[in-house]
Symmetry: C2
Subunit: 343 residues, 2 copies
DNA sequence: CTTGGCAGACGGGGACCGAGAGTGCCAGCT
DNA sequence: AGCTGGCACTCTCGGTCCCCGTCTGCCAAG
């Protein structure tokens, strides 16, 4: 398999050169710039094979080769050592993030930082509330059938959701419910509180309540569950201007910006993450959205310990510095996780 | 002043044509497309005068003329009738916005709508909390010297701010403060509550408190004031992809995106608004930011009645349909104001 | 299996040119 | 005095042509 091995080295060299120069790379420049130990003719043969196997392609006859999505995929899959960030960079990250005063600030600083480090577009998802305990739940009647629930956790996070009720409730009922909820949920972990609220109304719960309150308590319980399970569907974006250089072609640039504006696609891509440590690279056509067929997404989760709190990603052209981006994404994710756990 | 009058009509025609076609407009096409009642030669003379006065310019010798910033300024200042939106459009706005379930949703739908209506970039600022009453204030100790204050208003808005204390406080002190604040502030309008909190510690307030609590109450008071006075410094953006067409030139496009990313500039531009009805158009170089020297900003405030709650704007190329944009911005601002007042 | 050599293909860039659009100016008309 | 038609001039834009350089594929020899 020595020949196969060399072919992979050729592919790697092509990726490296193309990422650096943004220009199709030919056999001669390849042997000049990398120590491949063979002549350009040999490289040409290897390139012919690589092309036949679909790893590289030429934009037009008699131009150099550029990697295909499949080529990048192989390159990324075989990445062994992710070059760690320099001590200076790590210090810069820590210094910049530690100045954050609240959740919004942490997230905004993180995306910004990530965008600057990678010179691409960065995205961070608002975190979930796993493991937090309920400090207070406030209920506000918006209309006869709409209730706003505000949940404050002991970690200082605040979440609000609207509740749609099946039948109208009176102000007194809301007031009673408020007391009931305070009694049952305060101090508990979110999931426990959810359970407790569901239990109300069940026979033998020991808490005497009317039917409406029981229903609403149930709704609240489900709401708490959804707070725990479903990550917030908000995203923070930064560095949009960085991709102007990467997509000179106006229509494709427009497409990318549209996709970023939509957010739906991004949320879907981030939703597949299941573990904070998981690093997912999605290249070109692998993204479902046609608008993103020219981009790659480097995504990972963040959280405290094993618990996934949210996702974080970098979006850039398929022609990007994967090792560098992966390193930056991972590092920032780790710091964000730390910042959010230690509170 | 008949000649002067005609010259203005020529300028108006140039603006109209240039906005429509995006191409420099010459004297002949001008007389063809508009009923100016004079020959092209006369128009040429007028154009020469307009150019000398700085209202129009030619990109290069023997091309048509395009309006300068000064030209747009005159055009906008002399705008009398803002064409009202069609009934269909108004219905569409109302229908789309009325589906919103909470504040975030209202704002997101508004920007989105505005971006679609104008085919440009839309910005909305989070609203202030004027006139709201305090339903609940929750305090969470983050560290010995940091306190998170969460304010819930009767309108269902939730705001959180961090408080930096000059000396460490104990959990019991925070607990005592919580009771105190609940007693003094709940149910009051924000500004009244702020006053009440400041009054604590003053001689003769009748409320016996220790020095630390008094200090913290004071801090809370100032915090409430700042909630009332300073608009939230968050913005929601939409329609970024729309400007790719308007700025074919990559570097200038990048500049605009950078400015939008920064937000600081936008916040400054929105900060000058003082009244919900005020409509402010800032053209080209009038924007302080060099990155925005090719764009115009059409901004207005929104709120309930006389009270300004926040700003709302459209950013686009100086070559934009001012009457249409102004109409759309005004209409959306009115609806947003309504949505946020009626809650 | 590798290498050097060679012919062939093809895009990019520069030079050239003609068409078209637009201007400025002037003389004449009202 | 102001408007108009005419005319000469200027300049950009788009198309064509052609050459240069680069890169490939293939082949025969090591």
């Amino acid at each position: 398999m020595r020949a196969d091995d060399r072919r992979f080295r050729v592919l790697r060299a092509i990726v490296a050169d193309y990422v650096a120069t943004q220009e199709p790379v030919g056999s001669k420049t390849l042997v000049d710039r990398h120590q491949l130990g063979v002549s350009s003719a040999t490289v040409r043969n290897d390139m012919a094979v690589l092309e036949e196997e679909g790893y590289i392609t030429q934009p037009h006859t008699s131009a150099g080769r550029i990697p295909t999505d499949k080529g990048y995929r192989l390159f990324v899959d075989r990445l062994t050592k992710v070059k760690p960030l320099s001590a200076g960079e790590r210090n810069a990250i820590e210094g910049f993030l530690s100045k954050a005063v609240d959740l919004d600030d942490v997230l905004r600083r993180s995306v910004r930082l990530l965008a600057q480090l990678t010179r691409q577009v960065a995205v961070v998802q608002y975190p979930t509330l796993v493991r937090s305990a309920v400090r207070h739940i406030e209920l506000v009647g918006l209309s006869e059938t709409r209730l706003l629930a505000v949940v404050i956790t002991d970690t200082g996070r605040v979440e609000q959701r609207t509740l749609d009720l099946s039948r109208p409730v009176s102000a007194e009922q809301v007031q009673r419910l408020r007391m009931l909820v305070a009694e049952q949920a305060t101090g508990q972990r979110l999931d426990q509180a959810a359970e407790a609220l569901h239990a109300i109304g069940d026979t033998g719960s020991g808490v005497p309540v009317d039917a409406e309150s029981a229903e609403m308590a149930g709704l609240l319980g489900t709401l708490l569950e959804s707070l725990v399970e479903h990550p917030d569907e908000r995203l923070v974006l930064s560095g949009t201007s960085n991709i102007t250089g990467s997509f000179a072609d106006p229509p494709s640039l427009r497409g990318v910006l549209e996709a970023l504006d939509e957010q739906v696609t991004l949320l879907k891509l981030l939703a597949v993450l299941e573990h904070p440590e998981a690093m997912r690279v999605s290249i070109g056509q692998e993204n479902l959205d046609v608008n993103l067929s020219g981009t790659s997404l480097v995504a990972t989760g963040y959280g405290s310990g094993e618990v996934l709190m949210g996702g974080l990603a970098v979006v850039g052209p398929t022609r990007m510095d994967y090792p560098g981006t992966i390193a930056a994404v991972r590092a920032v994710a780790q710091y964000v996780g730390m910042m959010l756990s230690e509170n």
